[in-house]
């Protein structure tokens, strides 16, 4: 049985840049299609302060750099593209994912890795709606803006979060 020690993972991680590691976090423990990996990576990189070089494109924020990294042979130790087009982590990639989640919990607090796990449970449609909503410039080039706007409208005014201005600050009241 092939095993990967933590020392091996540490060595491997040193060979990659921050965006490679964001992709490991974006793919996670179950295979995901390109669009899903892109959107998760855009969100995770924003949370972690990593530049994903994403720009508005036909199907929401898109990063050519991420696409190149997903295809880069130097990253084949961490993830690969399967026959059905989905991306999955290698054994080394899985160990790297576990280690990165532990590191994030220490460096950024427990909430960040737990939120990333929640992100992995999102449906493709809702993930798309979320990225368009948080990055409204995504509508500029979009070919699916009508469909996405309808999706976003469905989630407005539900009463769980109320926003108001109080002087210079914005107050968000959360009832959930």
């Amino acid at each position: 049985m092939v095993t990967v020690s933590e020392e091996d993972v540490e060595k491997e991680l040193k060979l990659h840049d921050q965006l490679d590691l964001v992709l490991v976090l974006a793919i996670g423990s179950s295979p995901a299609p390109h669009l899903v990996v892109q959107k998760r990576a855009v969100l995770i990189s924003k949370l972690l302060g990593v530049d994903s070089e994403a720009e508005p494109y036909y199907y929401g924020p898109y990063s050519e750099t991420i696409t190149e990294k997903l295809q880069d042979a130097r990253n084949a130790t961490l993830f690969r593209r399967r026959g059905d087009g989905k991306y999955e982590l290698t054994l080394m990639g899985m160990r790297a994912y576990e280690l990165l989640m532990k590191r994030l919990a220490v460096e950024k607090g427990e909430d960040v890795p737990r939120f990333i796990e929640t992100l992995h449970r999102m449906s493709e449609d809702e993930l798309l709606a979320l990225t368009y909503h948080l990055f409204p410039e995504s509508f500029e080039e979009s070919k699916i803006k009508g469909k996405v706007r309808v999706m976003i409208e469905r989630f407005k005014g539900k009463g769980l979060v109320k926003a108001k201005r109080e002087g210079e600050k914005i107050v968000l009241e959360v009832d959930a």
Binding site: D111, H133, P136, L160, I170, L172, A176
Partner: protein, 86 residues
């Protein structure tokens, strides 16, 4: 023009301009009703932040272009429950 002449001209100018310093962050206050918890946070332009509540996650992002705060609430199963902006 000599530097002496230049200085004289500057002294003669009786006008002023005001430069508005662009905001680099936005103050937000989060009031989690169920936990009876209030948080004060600064959200930098373009940055996204996430906060945990009893039922899920509140995501916020301050967009520079529209000068709006965009927010979304996700439950723990990863289902969108609310989206809005101000």
């Amino acid at each position: 023009m000599s530097s002496e002449e230049s200085e004289k001209k500057v002294e003669e100018i009786d006008a002023s301009i005001s430069i508005q310093v662009p905001k680099t962050s936005l103050k937000i206050e989060l009031r989690f009703k169920r936990e009876k918890l209030v948080l004060q946070e600064d959200v930098k332009i373009g940055e996204a932040k996430v906060f945990r509540s009893s039922e899920g996650w509140l995501l916020v992002r301050y967009d520079d272009k529209t000068k709006k705060l965009f927010y979304a609430f996700l439950d723990k199963k990863g289902r969108l429950r609310e989206m809005g902006e101000l």
